[in-house]
Structures are given as structure tokens and as C-alpha cells.
């Protein structure tokens, strides 16, 4: 099998997944409002994307043009690189790195940098406030996810994502460490600037880091956010939900079904959960959720020592 096939599949899944996530976003709003779902809902993201593409690009006064233009592209690249370590079937993976989850962690950290640069480079107040606010929350959420991922890697005794998936052949990690899944989903919301963790692009800042975005740049930034959501759902499925393991259906189908489920859960959380004020969220992250991540890590360590 050519090495290009997993790469093509990765971009295909990223594209289709992003469209599915955008359609789910709109469907969720309709469901919550009690309005009937129409087939046109599925096409709505395309229409809105087209609208952005035909609008002109607005420039602020003395922006950092290079970083402003690059930010959406870098965000998209980080989504693709992060997903490249996730196997869709045994051996079917773009980059089967021994340090797979470390690479994912590096992508998380660089995502915070890219979101900050996106808000900073516009040289305008609202994007800047969004960027600063996001860094405070995003960095803490990302720090926490490192312990969550290490706990998921402990039973596998490996940092490779394929080994973590293999270690879940009998028991999925969600059974072994349910809080880990919740904490990781929370990180997913933070990486994609959504719902209760939308401190960067929130409506209270008129769009935050993308308040001054318009035209194709706005479409690109929103598409990159959706692609990162797909990437997060792939990582969640592989690390906590057993990846391609499952009865009756073939492995890749299971993987896609789980990804769609995680996407739906994240979209639901986006619209149903309210956001805490930043100071409260920071206190919650450092005093409650970080110790919880430590506790999970210690319990999984004890389990591995006692039953292996």
C-alpha cells in the first residue's frame, strides 16, 4: 500500500468531518429551538462559507500582516499534524511515531500560540483581549491534558498512539478512567474555541480574535477551527474509546462512528453549557480539575502496578 493513501484519507476525513461538524452546529441550534430539521441545514455551512469568500478583506491599522495571514493556515496544519499519529485501522496511519502523544501535545501547545498570534496580529482591541484571555485559560487546560494523556498511555506502557489503541482491545480507557475522557473533551472545546471554553472568539467580544476578520480569511479561520474539532474527535476516539476496536463492524467504520459520536457530543456541549467568567474558570482549572487529573494518573498507575 502506498504511503500516500493514509495522507489522502486524513485530509478527506478532515474535510468531510469539518462539514459534518458545521452542519451539526446548525442542526443543534434548530433542535434546541424546537424547529423542524430540513435537508437544507446540511448545505447551510457551504452557503455561509461562499458568502465569506465573495466578501472583501478588511485591513486594520498597522497589523502584523504576515502572522494575520498565516494564522488560519497554521491552525489547519496543526490539526492535520495532530491527527497524523492516529491509526484508523491496524497499521493504517500517516506517522506511526513512538512519541505520538508527545507530538499531539506539541500541536496543542502551538495551537495556543497560533490563536494568540491570530488575535494579536490584527492590532485591534477586541481581538487582543480575546487572545490574552484565551492564553490564560488555554495554557492551563493544555497543561492539564498532558497528565490526562500520560494516564491514558500508562496501561499501554508506550507513548505511541497505535500502542495505546492496542492496549484497549479488552477494556477501553473510558471504562478504566472516565474522568480522563471528560477532561480531554474539555481540552477539545478549548482547542477549538467552543462553548464553555470559548474565551478567544466569544460573542461578548464581538467575535474576539476574529472580530476584525472578513472575507476569505474569516472562512479559513472558521474552517480551521472545525478541522481541529475533527482532529480532537479522532484523538479522543483513539485514546479513550478504543479506536478501531469493536464487534461486528470493520475497524475503520468503528473509528468513524466513534468520531461522529464525539463530534456530536462536543457540538452539544458547545450549545448547551454556559461559560464561566475567566477568573472563576482559572480557579476551577488549577484547584479542582488539575488535582483530579493527578488523582486519575495515580489511580491508573496503581492499577497498572497491581493487576499487570
Amino acid at each position: 500500500m502506498s504511503a500516500a493513501v493514509p495522507i489522502i484519507v486524513l485530509f478527506y476525513v478532515l474535510g468531510v468531518g469539518a462539514w459534518l461538524a458545521a452542519a451539526l452546529d446548525r442542526a443543534a441550534l434548530k433542535l434546541m429551538a424546537g424547529r423542524p430539521l430540513a435537508a437544507a441545514t446540511m448545505a447551510e455551512p457551504w452557503r455561509q462559507g461562499d458568502l465569506h469568500l465573495v466578501r472583501q478583506r478588511i485591513w486594520t491599522e498597522r497589523p502584523d500582516a504576515m502572522n494575520w495571514l498565516l494564522a488560519p493556515a497554521l491552525y489547519l496544519i496543526l490539526a492535520a499534524v495532530g491527527m497524523s499519529v492516529v491509526p484508523f485501522a491496524p497499521g493504517f496511519v500517516v506517522a506511526d511515531l513512538d512519541a505520538g502523544i508527545v507530538l499531539w501535545g506539541a500541536c496543542e501547545a502551538l495551537t495556543v500560540v497560533v490563536v494568540f498570534l491570530h488575535g494579536w496580529s490584527a492590532n485591534a482591541p477586541l481581538p487582543l483581549i480575546g487572545a490574552y484571555r484565551y492564553v490564560a485559560i488555554g495554557l492551563s487546560a493544555m497543561l492539564l491534558s498532558m497528565f490526562v494523556l500520560i494516564a491514558a498511555a500508562l496501561p499501554a506502557e508506550s507513548l505511541a498512539v497505535s500502542a495505546i489503541v492496542e492496549s484497549q482491545a479488552s477494556v477501553w480507557n473510558v471504562v478504566r478512567q472516565p474522568p480522563g475522557l471528560l477532561l480531554f473533551l474539555m481540552l477539545g472545546l478549548s482547542l477549538t474555541l467552543r462553548g464553555p471554553f470559548d474565551y478567544a472568539d466569544a460573542s461578548d467580544l464581538a467575535g474576539g480574535t476574529s472580530a476584525e476578520d472578513s472575507g476569505p480569511a474569516r472562512a479559513a479561520w472558521q474552517a480551521a477551527r472545525l478541522a481541529m474539532l475533527v482532529s480532537v474527535s479522532a484523538m479522543t476516539s483513539a485514546v479513550f474509546l478504543g479506536g478501531y476496536h469493536g464487534p461486528w463492524l470493520p475497524g475503520p467504520v468503528w473509528m468513524l462512528v466513534k468520531m461522529a459520536g464525539v463530534l456530536a457530543a462536543l457540538v452539544g456541549a458547545t450549545h448547551m453549557l454556559a461559560r464561566l467568567p475567566p477568573a472563576r474558570m482559572l480557579t476551577l482549572l488549577w484547584t479542582v480539575l488539575l488535582p483530579l487529573a493527578f488523582l486519575v494518573l495515580a489511580l491508573v498507575g496503581a492499577e497498572v502496578l497491581l493487576w499487570k
Binding site: D98, A99, V102, A106, V113, N123, L139
Partner: protein, 193 residues
């Protein structure tokens, strides 16, 4: 092999170029992230040297560190966004001379020393071996270095925050009241209300 050699030269050149940009740009945010790019190039060179964990962890650590650094530098300076042009160097003649002399000395040392040519077997579990080393024989050194760094950071913060905005911090500096004889101005922490 040739692709690896080419990758090394490209990465080494970009590490030097972005490192040089740190001192040429006019904004703290740009300087921080230029330094980050320089470290990322070095991290990728570590990948070429068959040290995948250290290489990728360098990228991860530098992204977090430079983000925190940019945030704090802008926070402590009177340049709210870090986008206003500013002069980024102090004592720059001395610093530039020291930098060039150090670079030349290190380059000469590298060129003159007899470096081992010892390719790592691709099947060798380098990450596993590194973990056993760090949490085995080298654990004392590793932990001592970690605690020393932490103590240094805490000490630096304590020393630099002694002179508070309204007088020495250890003598209970408080902002002046808004009305004569009133409560000190400013935010009262939630648990003291």
C-alpha cells in the same frame, strides 16, 4: 542520507536566522516567537539525531515557555499590545561582541574536536532507554536540577516583587484610600470580603 544532510543544513540555517531575528525585530511578541522558531528548528535537528522524545518535547516546551514569556513581558511593560515599535536591545555593542566571540569559540571547539560517528540502530527503543535512565541512575541529578530551577523561579519572583507599587511588600504596602481615612482602594480578594 542526503535528504537528512540537506534537512540538517536547512534547519541549522533557520535556527541561526530566526535566532538573529530575535534581536532585530521591534516587538516583544515577535522576538519571543522568533526565539520559539529557533528552538523548534533545534528540536527538529534532535529528531534527525535519533532523539525523537527530546526533539518533540523541545517543540512542546518552547511553545509553552515562549507563550508565557510573551504574555508576561507585554504585561509588565508599558506597551499594551507589544505591537508598538520599540528598541529591543540593551548594551547592544557589548552583547553583540560577546555573542560573536562565543559563537566563534564554540564553532572552533566543535570543528576541532573529534566527534563520534555512531549511528543509532533504528530498532533501538531510545524513548524506553531514556525513561529508564531518567528515572533510574540519573534520577537524583534530574530531580535536583528540577527543584533547583523551581527554587530559582520562586526566589526571583520574591526578590523582584519586594518593592511593591505602594512601598515595600513585606511592610504591608496598600494603595491609598479614595476618601481620607477610608478603606484602601482597589479590588478586595473574594475570601476577605
Amino acid at each position: 542520507m542526503e535528504v537528512k544532510d540537506l534537512a540538517f543544513f536547512v534547519l541549522a540555517a533557520s535556527a541561526v536566522w530566526t535566532g538573529w531575528r530575535v534581536f532585530r525585530v521591534d516587538s516583544m511578541v515577535r522576538a519571543s516567537f522568533s526565539l520559539m522558531l529557533s528552538f523548534i528548528a533545534v528540536g527538529l535537528i534532535m529528531l534527525l539525531l535519533a532523539a525523537p522524545y527530546i526533539g518533540i518535547a523541545t517543540v512542546f516546551m518552547m511553545a509553552v515557555e515562549m507563550m508565557v514569556m510573551a504574555l508576561f513581558m507585554v504585561m509588565f511593560m508599558m506597551n499594551p499590545a507589544g505591537l508598538n515599535p520599540m528598541w529591543m536591545v540593551h548594551q547592544h555593542r557589548l552583547a553583540a561582541a560577546t555573542g560573536f566571540i562565543t559563537f566563534a569559540a564554540l564553532t572552533i571547539a566543535v570543528l576541532l574536536s573529534d566527534l563520534p560517528g555512531n549511528p543509532v540502530d533504528p530498532a533501538k527503543p531510545v524513548i524506553h532507554d531514556l525513561g529508564v535512565e531518567l528515572l533510574g541512575n540519573s534520577m537524583l541529578i534530574f530531580e535536583t536540577a528540577g527543584i533547583t530551577l523551581l527554587a530559582t523561579m520562586v526566589g526571583t519572583v520574591i526578590l523582584s516583587s519586594r518593592s511593591g507599587r505602594y512601598g515595600p511588600a513585606d511592610e504591608g504596602s496598600l494603595p491609598p484610600p479614595l476618601t481620607p481615612g477610608g478603606r484602601p482602594a482597589g479590588r478586595v480578594p473574594e475570601d476577605e470580603e
